[in-house]
């Protein structure tokens, strides 16, 4: 962090000012002039919270994607299909058993199994041929999308939120002051906050596992140079399978989260594929902190954009990607 400030004082200053303005907007009681200019604070706060929690969801999808890319140089364009598959599995399990948590577990295991099959049957045969692997994932995503359309139809599914998570929670953030002088606090759906907290926990755990454990060390070494790693006697194929399974499983978990937040339908796979692409392009390929930063930026941009400039919201996301590519083509937090 301090190295970054030393090397890029201007960018550091700009980001600090941006973060400070954001924090002020969130915590301060807005003066009337500001409310007239950009609307009610409640709307703004809701957009910010939606953006942050959506960022958590994007992080879950994109971190698996970036992990797989970082280690295996495999742009898995079927990642969106894994997301949707996990969502459908979670829906089926949670409606059949009534247990939301069980839905997560089964979705993780099943999508991880699909990931293992993909890695063992398909990708191992064409190692080192990036373009061919990517084309295969495109073909697979078409086949998967059609199979899921066949099995589940074109309907919208929403996973039932468990009872203990239903309802809003009052946050200690003042949205407005009533004429009687009484402050109005922000009310926000509890389930989104819980899921966001869970994604933060998963992210931190993943990061710790990467920098503190032996497996994490092997994975990081594989990201840097997989040939030398294999030459040192590590069973690299096993590592590949494990990482692919974990990344795919994360996509499945994200599918259950997405099915609870929003809904599941054909086409969501493409939406989340796009989201993970943009997130990892912005954050930096193969970097977990990069995926977190990218997911936060893209989630916020999408939600704030759809509130303040509804018909051009996607352009904001896109412009961020263009800006990052123009200034730092390797992504914000990539090492190279």
């Amino acid at each position: 962090m301090s190295r970054f400030v030393e090397r890029h004082p201007a960018w550091a200053l700009i980001s600090i000012i941006a973060i400070a303005v954001m924090l002020w907007l969130v915590f301060a009681i807005w003066p009337p002039g500001l409310e007239e200019a950009i609307g009610r604070k409640r709307v703004f706060l809701n957009a910010v919270f939606n953006g942050i929690t959506l960022g958590g969801l994007y992080f879950l999808v994109a971190s698996g994607f970036t992990l797989i890319f970082g280690l295996m140089r495999n742009v898995n364009l079927a990642h969106g299909s894994l997301y949707l598959f996990g969502g459908y599995v979670g829906y089926a399990i949670s409606t059949a058993t009534g247990s939301w948590i069980l839905g997560f577990i089964v979705a993780f295991i099943l999508t991880a199994l699909v990931g293992v099959l993909l890695q063992v049957i398909v990708f191992r045969r064409m190692e080192g041929q990036d373009l061919r692997q990517t084309m295969v994932t495109i073909g697979l995503s078409i086949v998967f999308a059609d199979l899921m359309l066949w099995a589940c139809g074109g309907d919208f599914y929403q996973i039932q939120t468990p009872n203990w998570l239903i309802g809003p929670i009052e946050l200690p953030l003042v949205t407005a002051i009533k004429s009687s002088g009484e402050p109005v606090y922000l009310r926000y759906p509890m389930v989104r906050l819980v899921i966001f907290a869970a994604s933060v926990v998963i992210g931190v755990a993943m990061w710790l596992a990467l920098i503190r454990t032996r497996i994490g060390m092997i994975v990081r070494a594989g990201v840097d140079d997989r040939d030398i790693l294999a030459a040192t006697g590590v069973r690299i194929q096993l590592v590949f399978v494990a990482v692919f399974a974990f990344g795919a499983g994360l996509a499945g978990v994200a599918g259950v989260v997405g099915g609870t937040f929003q809904s599941l339908s054909p086409g969501e796979d493409i939406r989340f594929l796009l989201a993970s692409l943009v997130v990892v392009i912005v954050g930096g390929m193969g970097s977990i902190p990069g995926a977190a930063l990218g997911a936060l930026i893209i989630g916020l941009a999408e939600q704030l954009g759809s509130v303040y400039i509804p018909t051009y919201a996607i352009v904001v996301t896109f412009l961020i990607m263009v800006l990052v590519l123009a200034i730092r083509p390797q992504g914000l937090l990539a090492r190279r």
Binding site: V143, D146, W150, V278, M321
Partner: protein, 360 residues
């Protein structure tokens, strides 16, 4: 750096194998003349449905895929946004020209609207290409896919220019010299002329100094840079050329369907163009047209066929996906590659270079 090399390996051997064919351009091949004559007298053979729905659609889709083939085959850059460029050009024709949505369309005559659309779409594609060449190899697919998907969502949510998810309908088609150029036979000849023009332009450019330099950039960018070539400028120029071809195809497409909506620029459609090019073969300009013919035939007749053999008729995309997977697994240069291998296995002692050309 190794990343960039890996991703091109699939293209290189096929390009080497085709080099002898360069000495024997299609002009000297009797089959090429037969195909050309058949295409010219097609209106005598085929009726309106086959002429437009099969052959004109094939040529339009083939032209779009041709622009991808040029980028992927000669430049080593697999761009998934070629359909997006075509769709942008189609939208621009509808926005600047005359259409049923009078509040959006500016009502320019076609001879102003079309050059405007071509120029804007080429600029759009060149800018997208300039973004994509900032990174190497496999990232190109990701960035161009992101551009394509972003454009699709943008057309869906923007009502001021693109009229949201209903799109722009009843786009006017040109009438001049007393001919309705959207009538079946004149339209077929327009499409054929444009497709032939693009085909020969790509064929010519692949042998011109620019095309050779581009292939050098594909095979070894570092060495080309060391030789004094501006690698990125060549790549961006290739994007500009390919964008122009895609834009031409887009104009034809909007005249063909007389409407344009986000559905026609969806991500699935972008991927279809890649499938067409890969299935046909991305080492030769004829490949995309063969791929397009296969795709259009499947799209038109798969439903009847599947129902007839007792399967669910809606599984067309499943079939396409499986076919694509099979091609990617077993033949890196598509149907042309399969055809060539078959020819070679039949005549092991053949010294006629290049083998046969797969003609559609």
């Amino acid at each position: 750096m190794s990343l960039a090399h890996d991703s091109r390996i699939t293209v290189r051997p096929a390009a080497l194998a085709q080099r002898p064919a360069r000495i024997w351009p299609e002009i000297n091949h009797p089959a090429a003349w037969i195909v050309a004559v058949i295409l010219l007298i097609m209106p005598l053979i085929a009726n309106g449905f086959f002429l437009i729905e099969i052959f004109a659609s094939t040529l339009i889709l083939g032209t779009m895929a041709l622009s991808l083939m040029f980028l992927a085959g000669y430049g080593g850059m697999v761009s998934l946004m070629q359909l997006t460029i075509a769709g942008f050009s189609a939208y621009m024709v509808a926005v600047f020209g005359v259409s049923g949505n009078a509040n959006i369309s500016l009502g320019w005559p076609w001879w102003l609207a079309v050059p405007m659309a071509l120029a804007l779409a080429t600029a759009f594609g060149t800018l997208g290409g300039a973004l994509a060449v900032r990174t190497e190899g496999i990232y190109t697919i990701m960035i161009t896919l992101a551009i394509g998907a972003a454009f699709y969502y943008f057309t869906n949510q923007n009502w001021a220019i693109f009229n949201g998810h209903t799109g722009i309908n009843t786009v006017a088609t040109p009438h001049f010299w007393g001919v309705n150029w959207r009538a079946d036979i004149p339209f077929y000849y327009i499409v054929l002329a444009v497709a032939a023009l693009c085909y020969f332009a790509v064929e010519y450019l692949s042998r011109a100094p620019f095309g050779l330099a581009l292939q050098g950039v594909r095979d070894n960018p570092r060495r080309m840079a060391a030789l004094g070539f501006n690698v990125n400028a060549h790549r961006v120029a290739a994007y500009a050329f390919a964008s122009f071809i895609a834009a031409l195809a887009g104009v034809l497409q909007v005249w063909n369907y007389r409407q344009i909506s986000p559905g026609s620029v969806s991500v699935g459609a972008c991927i279809d163009v890649l499938i067409i090019a890969v299935v046909g073969g991305i080492t030769r300009p004829i490949g995309p047209f063969i791929g397009a013919l296969i795709f259009v035939l499947l799209r038109t007749f798969a439903l009847d066929f599947l129902v007839r053999i007792g399967l669910d008729g809606n599984r067309f995309r499943f079939l396409i996906g499986l076919g694509f997977l099979a091609i990617v697994f077993w033949s890196s240069d598509g149907v042309i590659g399969l055809w060539q291998r078959w020819r070679q296995s039949r005549r092991p002692a053949a010294n006629r270079p290049g083998g046969g050309h797969g003609h559609g």
